[in-house]
Symmetry: C2
Subunit: 321 residues, 2 copies
């Protein structure tokens, strides 16, 4: 039995294979077959996580399973897609049954939460790394791209920022800290919750959207460039969790602005839709607005431009598309 | 500019992005968007190649680009799917522009040959490995699975077997051999041609199909198990290329039976379809037949069962699904 079959067996509790809606043929043949309702498109995204680059060299396998899928599923949220399934390509130095069992439990738990079925994959021997490709579906013309923002739109985020960057010293064991606040940040790092329901809610309302993986300022730069306008962010409105403020202290804002790996949505919204979005997703926070111009500017309470923190805040260097 | 953008720039000569049929949105947003004609399904397969496991640690990047895509595209051929696009997740120790340029040329050449558009991907830093996820489309109910073979069907292959295994000593530089025969085998290893046209031709004719990646005997075992019958292979009918016979000598048959990485289709065919398939794909060879029973048996000229060669012929250990 190959390791992949092993993962699949451990995965049996989850919506692993054929049973899931939209999966006409699951694991075990040359290809999986996915079925879309008439008038819908398939959304696809691929993310790789490498040991020692995107996570510590010897991670807890349960947490790694959760995180690997969450990172990929967040791209479906950013597009406004309904989750369908995923493939997993896993490269492992050796097949350790206990490790695989814990990994599969973590993956399975995230998959159930996201309603994503494992439809196929590949297992190979080599240095530990994971490539997850996620599939979602959405009606033609309703995808949330990065290019539709218009001057006058509000710039919003789907929740507090910077927790994952604030957790990094704890993840790296550079700092031992127990207690509720540290536990909260570690959870936010290892098991980010893809904002899939928010993505669905934003269809037909948001003019542009993405998930924050490179850091707020860098990712807002992507929207500004793709939409051909400027985004102004009011520093005082950027939401910070109480846990981040306790653990990171004065560095909390830099974590929120330049730290990556939050997997919170950032989106532009015509003002008339704000009330409906906030009613259905109360964590929504307006942090600025879209204006004519180029680039991203950070403003203080008086509206003056502030020098942003330098990019390159210590992190594992996630890069996605 | 990230390495992935670099690959994409080098890839500009190929049908890289939006232009390709069926690709509604290509590289550059959170997800790519694929569009299927009404009544069609999406076929998906993922393959990982790891340096030092599936190919030499310091491969020629042009050849690696060809091979990485060919291995994955072969799964579309095995399913009878029409090629649509692919994502590439590439992990590299460092970004070397000359290396990437050559890699992209190889990838691009194979992509054009297969009519596959690059729709997205991810680039990460780490030990060299590649994960390619391919997408194809096919009418609902026409996929070539492994489970439909029936007693009385002919067992066929789409061409000569064993060339990739025969090339391995040359690939590994364990044996220096120049000349036409060696060049032919190396080409078969590094740039296998996915039998996509054969897969399309077999729709509605073949009862089961797969691509030979683990070796003829092992892969026929997959069809036998999935279809609940036995496959009898007549050793004398297994096709061998002249080049393999010259280079591998008496080991040529073992290469054909147990060597992997050929990416030639094996399929079961009701006898009434043979003439049409051979007319359109002249390399088709009947090597045996499906009968009631279980497992795979190898027969000599008199019809007696022969002990097959031991599995585990020296190779890099490709494993796919």
């Amino acid at each position: 039995m190959g390791e992949f079959e092993l993962i699949c067996r451990f995965f049996a509790a989850a919506p692993c294979a054929q049973a899931a809606e939209g999966v006409a043929l699951g694991i075990g043949d040359d290809c999986a077959l996915l079925q879309l309702p008439a008038g819908e498109q398939l959304a696809v995204s691929t993310d790789t996580l490498v040991a020692g680059v995107h996570f510590p060299a010897s991670p807890d396998p349960f947490l790694l399973g959760q995180r690997a899928l969450a990172v990929a599923a967040s791209d479906l949220a950013a597009m406004g897609a309904m989750p369908l399934g995923f493939t997993l390509a896993i490269t492992l130095p050796q097949a350790d049954e206990a490790w695989l069992q814990a990994f599969a439990r973590g993956l399975s738990q995230m998959a159930q939460g996201c309603r994503l079925a494992l439809v196929g994959g590949d297992t190979t021997r080599g240095p530990l790394s994971l490539t997850v490709t996620v599939f979602g579906r959405l009606p033609v013309g309703q995808a949330l791209t990065r290019s539709g923002a218009r001057p006058g739109d509000l710039l919003c985020v789907g929740g507090a920022l910077g927790d994952a960057a604030g957790a990094l010293p704890l993840v790296l064991d550079q700092r031992q800290e127990l207690g509720e606040q540290a536990g909260y940040l570690l959870q936010r790092y290892w098991a980010p919750q893809p904002q899939l329901a928010l993505g669905l809610l934003l269809r037909g309302k948001a003019t542009a959207a993405l998930d924050i993986s490179d850091g707020l300022l860098a990712d807002c730069g992507h929207i500004a460039a793709a939409s051909g306008l400027a985004l102004h962010i009011e520093l005082a409105r950027v939401p910070l969790s109480p846990a981040l403020q306790v653990i990171a202290g004065t560095a909390a804002r830099d974590c929120a602005l330049a730290g990556g790996d939050d997997y919170v949505l950032a989106f532009t919204l015509p003002p008339e839709h704000l009330a409906a979005v906030q009613a259905a997703w109360p964590a929504t926070v307006v942090i600025g607005r879209a204006v004519a111009g180029t680039g991203v500017a950070l403003l203080d309470d008086s509206g003056a431009v502030i020098q942003p923190p330098r990019a390159g805040y210590q992190h594992f260097g996630s890069s996605g598309d």
